[in-house]
Symmetry: C2
Subunit: 423 residues, 2 copies
Amino acid sequence: HSWVEVPEGSDFTIYNIPFGVFRPNPSEKPRVGTAIGNYVVDLSVLAHEGLFGEAYADTFHESSLNAFMAQGRPAWKDARRKIQALLTGDDARLKNNNDLRNKALIDINSVTMELPAVIGDYTDFYSSKEHATNVGTMFRGKDNALQPNWTYLPVGYHGRSSSVIKSGIDIHRPQGQLQKDPNDAHQGSTFGPCKLMDFELEMGTFVGPGNEMGKPIAMSQAEDHIFGLTLMNDWSARDIQKWEYVPLGPFTAKNFATTISPWVVTLEALEPFRSSTSAGEQNPEPHGYLKDPNYGSYDIQLDVYLKTPQLTEPYRLCHSNFSNLYWNIKQQLVHHSVTGCNMRPGDCLGSGTISGSTPDSYGSMLELCWKGTNPIKLPNGEERKFLQDGDEVVMKGYCQKAHVRIGFGDCRGKVLSPVPIES
Amino acid sequence: HSWVEVPEGSDFTIYNIPFGVFRPNPSEKPRVGTAIGNYVVDLSVLAHEGLFGEAYADTFHESSLNAFMAQGRPAWKDARRKIQALLTGDDARLKNNNDLRNKALIDINSVTMELPAVIGDYTDFYSSKEHATNVGTMFRGKDNALQPNWTYLPVGYHGRSSSVIKSGIDIHRPQGQLQKDPNDAHQGSTFGPCKLMDFELEMGTFVGPGNEMGKPIAMSQAEDHIFGLTLMNDWSARDIQKWEYVPLGPFTAKNFATTISPWVVTLEALEPFRSSTSAGEQNPEPHGYLKDPNYGSYDIQLDVYLKTPQLTEPYRLCHSNFSNLYWNIKQQLVHHSVTGCNMRPGDCLGSGTISGSTPDSYGSMLELCWKGTNPIKLPNGEERKFLQDGDEVVMKGYCQKAHVRIGFGDCRGKVLSPVPIES
Ligand SMILES: [Ca+2]
Ligand SMILES: [Ca+2]
Ligand SMILES: [Mg+2]
Ligand SMILES: [Mg+2]
Ligand code: NI
């Protein structure tokens, strides 16, 4: 246990030690921190005071986690162990130093969290079989729902890194081209605000050291290249997507915003929560490069809440679990690099929408309301088929086993009205 | 005319003044330069000596063009004008200063060119109607060749920025999943080296200042956000692409390498070469945001040469023209940002393969050999359907009108044998 008070149900227990980037106040530069209870711990201050010896003095002063991510698993483990020792008091140098404590521990509600990393490339996968089947059924009909390649490889596409944003930034409803006649693409398109605005419940994997171009990451090395996970909302304009995505995939329907939670929870913290995937095993057996001898996932509970301007309490739309993904994060990473693509520290891989098999576990409005045919009734009598202006989506994630709990913090964003377009 | 000797047929005349990043030697930091004849001009030296007044002292010392790209068109024009004056002798401060000349003018064959920019995001379009029709016919049959959305918007997808590389870096043949039975995807895949290795003749547009998230770039502002153009080879593994691209687009078939030429030719230099597009006009008329009142292109001649280990002379595979693109670079940029996507200085937009209407103008082996059914006979008796190990692809581009000529330098890369994969 920590000498810092950790309230019951806190995401940030001594078992967590997430990493993030924050500003203590608007006039100071961003730096690296961790969270415990209701405090952010300024790791740059601890490094400066020599509490990690020579280590991390540079990396924790950076305004992104990229340098730390590049240092690799031995450094991540070492830093975690030393931080835990400082916060339990096994290493009493922080606990017993009043001045340093006052300098390093900052009220979590007084800081500004920043994006944890400079994301060189952002990729989005499509790895829940239930999500792919649901969407495929709605977009292409039941017979072509799951494409033949889906069970052979983790289908994915490159996303837009410039618009990956931190939790709490509100986004304007996008405008774009919409298919004029939903049943006949040959009628062309109209232009206007997206009418089918959606979220996607995902998690983001942050890449560690990465690989050189032309030298794929082997499955046996995959975990050493994964720093940790965040929550992710892959905002999606369904009507724009439907019209534009053939044949080269989603483009402007997805590139206007992708929100991630600020704290990166490491694989070390997730270790006690290893689990099987809900699929249990993979059939057909993956090709050699993709076969994971420790095929499995992590038991991470995921909730999506909706706040409308009228609702007094956030309403839970969805309860899912990270283990619903058929292709795991190691397989995503290994496949991403198989043709020789170089992965860099800070690259972010979206998991794909995490839908389970029951209707209350579907990770998007598209699926929850089955393309608008089955609206959600909110407790105050409102209905939703898709998101309306003023609606806020809040994602939460946590792992719990007996008294051990770790969480991810919130991933939130509100939909604002569209901005006038100049032509 | 310049006091620097410019050989007949040089790409780098006084009318060009391209911008690039180079190292004078391996022990020195990259910095910004331009090219004239067979010389690179070290602009950081000229800025340091005050030849631009206070301007560009910082930006030309950077190891990328991003800061200069961010400065916007007035700065680009001003710098160009001042550099031209120094190189014509209208401003005699360089011409008449022996020491400075020796310091600033460096043999172009002795420097190492670097990537011109840190590319935050790389996007690839699909804007030649002939290319889209050719590929569509081969991949999906004649009836579904051009999708209904193609004439309404510039179809594009996000690419991989980490593997955008400079000219001259050789690439290993990628390995990945290939559809087992070409006619029946339900038979699954095999794993192995790509057999249908291809190039795509493209140009890359570099973005200037860019826009804030949520505030699309208007057509009336589009040109102010375009710094200039390079040549681009979008290497493509056709067999991997065929198996993986449904439904979310090309992924590992494209993300192993994209080669660009090192010199960025500005829109100022291209101004005298404005031209109509080969389409002439657009039908249907684009939506308001996409309608370009000055719809047109640039008359840029494009050649692709093949060098095999056996060939004594490079063989010209293709002769095309930039004006073969139906959607122009302004339209690509405006569409990219229409839903609110923020564009950043240094972002790169691939034009899409630039095929014309005649078979010798097709910009890929896939089209030139029509999916391998019509092999190319080389002068020495060799045949090619796709690229073999040891083959080098060289792209060249230039504009010529009376005595005015500007060129892009080379975009080259060789295909090496595959690297063993660990599983
Ligand atoms: Ca997604
Ligand atoms: Ca391409
Ligand atoms: Mg997104
Ligand atoms: Mg490429
Ligand atoms: Ni200097």
